[in-house]
Structures are given as structure tokens and as C-alpha cells.
């Protein structure tokens, strides 16, 4: 039979855990609103950028186009950019990124590619640990949350372009959590090099009809735009990932708070029963003592 003092300590400890989780939930919810706004206000730029790239891409000759757009013919080494959170306690957020990354790396290696990884954010790197220790191209931390700027994204983008031009790798893709809504985040895998051009019917029709003039010319605009497009994609992935992280943390902490509540209820029940049992015991002792006289 558990003793009362232990039970009381246990209940108090669960109560303080509950206070922490509910505070974390509130903090995440407050930050989420801002992150969500940031993610949404970042979308127009990304959308217009990809529209311009798409319309340019339909008009340039693919054989002479920049390898940033069409990729290298000889695709030997692949760089996987893994974007996760710097902090934990956000449910399956980092775990699902690590799991998908593991699967993608295995797939690429099975098809005869060499794989390098660029770890953005701390947690996925920790989760993958020694599995990726030999294939890390670079790591970066602390670029998410409130200190995130477009400058960070440009930096990451520049590093990728430098590596690509030095032929360290021949294609690049990005793995991150996309923010769908407060309850859902989806792990998304997109190609950065070659650039994923969404040739919607509208852009194709646009490309055929609009008699654009170019200043200076298509190729030069494209070569100025492609690095920017890379940075833009990384930036919007950072924004999405940050919002998704907060949403995941909010849900996880909400569950934790609820679980703690259930636990307190259960422990309180046991505590009360034990207390009652003790009282009954004492009464029996007194009565049987009195009877023995």
C-alpha cells in the first residue's frame, strides 16, 4: 500500500509539471499567431517569384539554360537540406523530419547516389546522430524564431550555390515541415536544384501570348533571379517550419496538460482511498482493542 506522504509528493510534482506545460502551451499559442502572420505575409513574394521564374523558364532554351534551373546531366551527389527545430518538446515534429530524412537518404543511396546533408536546426541532427556524421556538408543553428531574417536565408542559399558551383554536389532538395493549420503539419520535400518550376496552364498560356520585353535579356535576368529564388524558397520554408514548430508544440503541450490533469485525478483518487483505508484500519484497531478488554 503506497503511503500518503509519497502520494502527496507525487501529486504536487505532477501539478507543477502541468503548470509548466500549460505555460508553454500559452507561450506557443501567442508566438504562433505572429509566426503564422509572418508565414502568410511571406507567401506573396514567394508566389510571384515562382511565377516570374516559371514564365521565364518556359521561354528559355533548356539546353543552354543555367544548371541552377535545369540541373546537371551527371547527377552523382545529392545534397539534402534537413530543416528541423532548435528546441524539442514539440511532439512528433522533429521525429517525423528525422524519419523521412533517413528514408530519403536510404533511397538515394540505394539508387547509386552519394548523399550529403545540410542540417538546419539542431534537433534533427541530434536525432540522426552518428548515421549522418560522415556525410554532413554543413550545419547551422539559431536561424529560426524571432531572430530569423531574409539575410539568414540568403546565407544558407549562398552556401548551397557555392557548393554547387564547386561541384561538391549536383542536385539539392529541401525537407521541412509545412504549416497547414494549427493541428496539421506536413513533411514536405521539394527540389531546389534543379528548380522546381510549376508550369501551370496559366503561366504557359501567359508565356505564349505575352510579348515580353526583357531588360537586359532573358538569360541575364534568369541568372540574377535563380539565386534569389533559392534564398526565397529557403526563407519561406524557414517561416513555414517556424510556424509549424509552434503549432506542433502547442498541440503537444495541450495534450501534456490534459494528461497531467488525468494523472492528478487518478492519483487523487488513490490518495483518498488510501486515506480512507488508513482511517478504517485505525478504527478497527481501536474497536478490537476495546472489545478485547
Amino acid at each position: 500500500m503506497p503511503n500518503l506522504k509519497d502520494l502527496k509528493t507525487r501529486i504536487n510534482s505532477v501539478k507543477s509539471t502541468q503548470k509548466i506545460t500549460s505555460a508553454m502551451k500559452m507561450v506557443a499559442a501567442a508566438k504562433l499567431r505572429r509566426a503564422q502572420e509572418a508565414a502568410e505575409s511571406g507567401r506573396p513574394y514567394a508566389a510571384r517569384m515562382s511565377a516570374v521564374i516559371a514564365s521565364l523558364a518556359t521561354k528559355t532554351d533548356r539546353s543552354s539554360a543555367s544548371p541552377l534551373l535545369v540541373g546537371r546531366a551527371d547527377d552523382k551527389t545529392h545534397l539534402l537540406v534537413i530543416m528541423s527545430a532548435d528546441k524539442g518538446l514539440c511532439g512528433g515534429f522533429n521525429g517525423s523530419i528525422a524519419r523521412t530524412a533517413r528514408k530519403l537518404i536510404a533511397e538515394k543511396q540505394a539508387s547509386g547516389h552519394k548523399v550529403l546533408v545540410y542540417v538546419v536546426g539542431r534537433k534533427a541532427g541530434v536525432a540522426l546522430g552518428s548515421e549522418i556524421a560522415d556525410i554532413v556538408f554543413s550545419r547551422i543553428e539559431g536561424v529560426q524564431g524571432s531572430h530569423m531574417t531574409f539575410g539568414n536565408a540568403s546565407e544558407i542559399g549562398q552556401k548551397i550555390i557555392d557548393g554547387f558551383e564547386a561541384e561538391t554536389f549536383d542536385s539539392v532538395s529541401l525537407l521541412y515541415n509545412r504549416f497547414v493549420n494549427a493541428i496539421t503539419q506536413t513533411v514536405t520535400h521539394t527540389s531546389l536544384i534543379p528548380a522546381e518550376v510549376e508550369a501551370t496552364e496559366e503561366t504557359i498560356a501567359d508565356g505564349l501570348t505575352a510579348s515580353y520585353e526583357y531588360e537586359p535579356d532573358e538569360a541575364e535576368i534568369l541568372s540574377a533571379l535563380l539565386p534569389r529564388n533559392l534564398a526565397t524558397q529557403i526563407f519561406s520554408a524557414l517561416l513555414e517550419s517556424s510556424a509549424a514548430e509552434l503549432a506542433a508544440r502547442m498541440t503537444a503541450m495541450d495534450n501534456a496538460t490534459r494528461n497531467a490533469g488525468d494523472m492528478i485525478d487518478r492519483l487523487t483518487l488513490v490518495y483518498n482511498r488510501t486515506r480512507q483505508a488508513n482511517i478504517t484500519n485505525e478504527l478497527i484497531e481501536i474497536i478490537s482493542g476495546a472489545e478485547a478488554l
Binding site: 509572418a38 506573396p44 510571384r48 531574409f150 510579348s211 526583357y214 531588360e215 537586359p216 534569389r228
Partner: protein, 117 residues
């Protein structure tokens, strides 16, 4: 009132400007050019400079951009710029402070903005 064209100036963080304008002067990489309503479709690289919004013969908005691209279509003008600062609303003091707080290309651009103010 003269015919207008829809101007949108978008940075990665937000849509900075979205309004109907009579004329906008854009710092293209090959030189300044003005866009009125019904301008022919142009896609232009931009250099660092000031986007000027004209109305009734006067300049009503001045926005410094750090390069970018302008997409002129029959529906309007879209300017995509990585960095942009409104020269009419920003104060030199505040921009200077932000320049000190940031690094790299951001700091360089903000310093130039602060000097232009």
C-alpha cells in the same frame, strides 16, 4: 484624373505597397524607366535605387530598393525586392540604429538608406 496602373512592391517579409498609381519610376539595371498605364509588358532587372511614385506631377512616395526585379504586365507593375525602405516614413535615426543591429548586406543597405534620408 489620369488613367492609373496597379503598383505592388513586395519584399520577402510583406507586401510593402499596393495601390493604383499614375506613374512609377523604376531604377532598371539599364537605367531609370517610367511606367504609365498600358505600358508594354517588360521584365527588368533592377539595381539599387529609388522607386518614385508620381501623382499629379508630384512625387508622393519614395522607396529605396536594393535591387530586384520588376514585372510589368497589362494588369500592373510588380516589383520584387529583397530589401526596401520607405524614404518618406522612415527616420534617419531609427534606420541608423537598425543598421547597427544587423549584419552583412542588410547593414550595408540600411547605412545607405540612412545617408539618403
Amino acid at each position: 484624373m489620369a488613367e492609373t496602373t496597379q503598383l505592388e512592391l513586395v519584399t520577402p517579409a510583406r507586401v510593402m505597397l499596393s495601390k493604383s498609381v499614375e506613374m512609377v519610376v523604376i531604377p532598371g539595371s539599364e537605367g531609370l524607366f517610367g511606367v504609365l498605364a498600358h505600358h508594354a509588358p517588360v521584365l527588368a532587372n533592377l539595381q539599387r535605387g529609388v522607386v518614385e511614385v508620381h501623382e499629379g506631377g508630384k512625387i508622393i512616395d519614395r522607396i529605396m530598393i536594393d535591387g530586384g526585379v520588376a514585372d510589368v504586365t497589362e494588369n500592373g507593375v510588380t516589383i520584387l525586392a529583397e530589401r526596401a525602405e520607405n524614404l518618406d516614413t522612415a527616420s534617419s535615426q531609427e534606420v541608423r540604429e537598425r543598421a547597427l543591429a544587423s549584419t552583412g548586406a542588410d547593414a550595408e543597405f540600411l547605412t545607405i538608406v540612412a545617408e539618403a534620408l
